[in-house]
């Protein structure tokens, strides 16, 4: 691919801080990606609207507050409604191991729990973007 990969880094839900999201945003930038960062407290609808307008390859979401089982699949569903299912959707944050298989089944390509080196996330994105 001779263009930068575009990634929307989004924080759905009511978390009060976004240190983790900013950290990953910087790591992705340093890996040569264009990161669109939209700030805290995004609804799934806002995330999808931004993803469409920005025509991103990847939506990367992070949640600390525990609402992932509802919010992550909701974003996948809304993206499908927009016929944007060629976008890679990944999640991160405080997510119990038991929840991961269910989320993957619902279309979240991968879940990155705290402590995952950013290089793992970067490699995953590079190897799995669906669009040319």
């Amino acid at each position: 691919m001779d263009r930068p990969i575009r990634v929307l880094v989004a924080k759905p839900g009511l978390d009060g801080h976004d240190r983790g999201a900013k950290l990953i945003a910087r790591a992705l930038r340093d890996a040569g990606m264009e990161v669109i960062y939209t700030g805290l407290r995004q609804t799934p609808e806002q995330i999808v609207a931004a993803a469409i307008q920005e025509d991103v390859d990847v939506v990367a979401m992070s949640i600390l507050s525990g609402a992932h089982n509802h919010l992550f699949p909701k974003v996948v569903e809304l993206m499908k409604e927009q016929e944007a299912d060629d976008v890679l959707i990944i999640g991160g944050g405080v997510i119990p191991d038991d929840d991961i298989p269910g989320l993957k089944q619902k279309g979240i390509a991968q879940i990155f729990t705290p402590g995952t080196p950013t290089t793992v996330t970067i490699d995953f994105i590079k190897n799995n973007v669906k669009r040319k």
């Binding site: 939209t38 806002q46 920005e54 025509d55 944007a84």
Partner: protein, 311 residues
Amino acid sequence: MKLINKMLSGDKRACARLISIVENDKLESEKIIKQIYSHTGNAHIVGITGPPGAGKSTLTDKIVKSLLKENKKIGIIAVDPTSPYSGGAILGDRIRMQDLALNPNVFIRSMGTRGYLGGLAKATRNAIKVLDAYGCDYIFIETVGVGQSEVDIVKAADTVVMVMVPGLGDDIQSIKAGIMEIGDIFVVNKSDLFGAQRTATEINMMLDLNTNEKRRPPVLMVTSTKNEGIDKLIEETKDHYTYLKESKEYDERRQKNLRIELLELVEEEIRNIVISETNKDNKMENAVKELADKKVDPFTVRDKFLNSIKK
């Protein structure tokens, strides 16, 4: 092309895809622009520029919210710098425009400069054309935070809003060269902060020194975060557009910019032709060696290269 028809009928995803193509694919981009060019020319293009952190995104958000009450369709292109080291970028202007994301009449697009130095991205001009054809009444272009010489916005916009803030102090002096001249409207944003009046006075003094302006730019006090001064700014923006249209300046300005655009396109193409031509048989490499050994001078080589591409 199917995408183009979808975009012309108002499809956001098609519009977004077309902007990506215009950004990434030179040949496809040309095909698209050829097809949509006759649909452009209807939007009022407004540049929002000024130093980093002046409140350009916050201001744009407030202006757009107000214009939406008039049922206008609005495009926003927000440019942020690409890192020269990694080629990546963090595009963060949307943070200040969160409430606009879902509005059906608003389209927001973030762009990295990708090595371009004038305060815009190389593809911004063509992205504007896409949004214009998409049917926007207004297109706002937020430049990167400017410092010294990022004045490309003047080649792309009808109206340039220069956003200043209190406390720039001596910075006003350093910014003024070149950059101050491109403002059609000056905003002192963050007027809730100490020193706003003084900043306005300084800008006014500077503008009074410049007597060859066709139209003296107004200086407006605004507090974006409190939505103060926004309606006045919108009024002045519209007045400026009316002035352009009623005087000859609208046509003069657009034609001047078209001339620049055309010359840049020609330059780029000649450059590409010369590069591909002189890559053959190591012509370029050999010439560089000869130059280094002082066997020949640069102007002679230039003429030789140019002659070799003449049909």
